[in-house]
């Protein structure tokens, strides 16, 4: 019940944040604006709209996960609301988990709204979305859950600005893992190569969660691939949440 109370409170707080609506407005505008790119790509309207809509869902979801997530715990300490909460008989991990779940709920609703908006728009344009579109949305959400967990971990360790910079770097590197492991030969034996190799094994491979091209082209994605990717995301998310709870356990507030 304690985790649910913190989660619901976090959700309620985030829903009342005006920034959320600004981001949703821009996400909607991007989805509607995707038609413009469709015009310049003759016969590709539907593909372009699906691709851009999914990209917008992912990008704006990440923006919310990073900007809200990295200040989630930090703000509670900074505004001192945490004093009256942690002096209650609750475990600290319950607080961290509650904050995470509240934001995860919010991102779930936002992802659903953006995906539904895009699907309705595609239908109005005469197209249709299939199973792969839904799978793509599901994997985007799994990716957002992972990014949110990283944001919450950093929120209990550092300032929101530094946290956001680190999460964005991980997000970009997570989508470029192929480059990290296949450095040109001239980097052999250098620090750069070993640093990128280490990062390759530490940073989650976020490109696994990207099946936008398949959704846009109406290709089939095996259910087992989606399940394995979800399990991969869940493992990383759980690990990050354990680290967040651990780092927060003995923190002086």
């Amino acid at each position: 019940m304690r985790i649910a109370a913190v989660a619901m409170n976090t959700f309620r707080e985030a829903v009342r944040d005006k920034v959320l609506y600004v981001l949703l407005f821009f996400a909607g505008a991007t989805i509607l604006g995707s038609k413009a790119l469709g015009w310049v790509s003759v016969g590709q309207d539907e593909k372009i709209i699906i691709d851009i809509s999914l990209a917008a869902t992912s990008l704006f979801g990440v923006l919310i996960a990073v900007f809200v997530g990295t200040s989630l715990v930090y703000k509670e300490i900074d505004k001192r609301t945490i004093y009256t909460i942690l002096s209650r008989p609750m475990w600290r991990y319950e607080f961290v988990l509650g904050k995470y779940l509240g934001l995860a709920m919010l991102i779930g609703v936002v992802t659903l709204v953006m995906a539904a908006m895009a699907a309705a728009y595609i239908a109005v344009m005469g197209g249709h979305v299939g199973l792969t579109y839904l799978q793509a949305v599901l994997l985007i959400y799994c990716q957002l859950l992972l990014v949110t967990a990283l944001s919450v971990l950093l929120s209990s360790l550092t300032s929101p600005i530094l946290g956001a910079m680190i999460v964005f770097s991980c997000y970009v590197l997570g989508h470029a893992t192929g480059i990290m492991i296949n450095m040109p030969p001239r980097f052999d034996g250098t620090f750069v190569k070993s640093a990128f190799e280490t990062a390759y094994y530490v940073i989650p491979n976020l490109s696994h969660f990207n099946i936008r091209a398949e959704a846009a082209n109406g290709a089939t994605v095996p259910g087992t691939y989606v399940l394995w990717t979800m399990a991969y995301g869940a493992a990383y998310t759980a690990l990050l949440l354990v680290l967040a709870a651990f780092s927060f356990e003995n923190k002086d507030v």
Partner: protein, 308 residues
Amino acid sequence: MYAIETRGLAKIYRGRIGRPAAPSLDALDLTVGSNEIFGFLGQNGAGKTTTIKVLCGLIRQTRGTAAVCGIDVRRREARQSLGYLPENPYFYEYLTPRETINFYGQIGGLGAKERERQWGSISELLDLREIAGQRVRGFSKGMRQRLGFAVALVGDPAVLILDEPMSGLDPLGRRRIRELMLHLRTQGKTVFFSSHVLGDVEQICDRVAILSKGRLVVQGRVDELLSRRVTHVEVIASGLPETVDSEIAATAVSSRNSEEGRHFVLPDLARANDAVRRVHAAGASLVEFSPVRESLEDYFLRLQERKP
């Protein structure tokens, strides 16, 4: 079993790189009995808030032990019997008092019926009903303090720890808090609070402890700590002949004219009685005779001056 007990409690915050760590609290031995109102005094930076934060589980001590109702404060169960009001309490601005109490009841593990029951009693005690539906965002300092008190009472804790509960309040607000603390004592609760308002502390506390630079200077009953000796006597007389006036002024610490007559400050009772005898002998009127005893503030200042 003590309501609060600390033994050799110390907290050293990590210093910045290249700078030594700053000890905020050092070897604090403190005992607070059940059903006491206990005043925790000290100048700014003396370590009062650090002690309170350790007791509430917000920070971990570097050395020593601390317990609330016999349970180590590092254990979650210790907070079961503890209610905390931080200095300048902050709450979620978008919640109403009713939602706030409900939220703290939930995280305190109370069921829906119990939360409803507690809202009824707490809102009545603190007059929250008229503002039950207003958002905290627009609340004044006094209203926030009342809500903070209400939050501390959620879960019906045996021990209340209040950090500067009277800070920034007007005289009416301070009186209300004092009355509330006295009421809580009648309910069998222990109230431990830090304050700068020594007059308030003297009025309501059973015992006090004074901290200086992280160390305990003294703790005990207020009436035992204060010598209660007469520090000086104020005598006011009117219609005094000039010669008598000069005689009394010669034995006084100071003298001045006031609306009621001549105002003398005599160093002790013997000289004050002698002055009164002279006033009567001269056929003048005695307007006031006030022996002044040492206050907690005098005692506190005396201690601070004594310490390096």
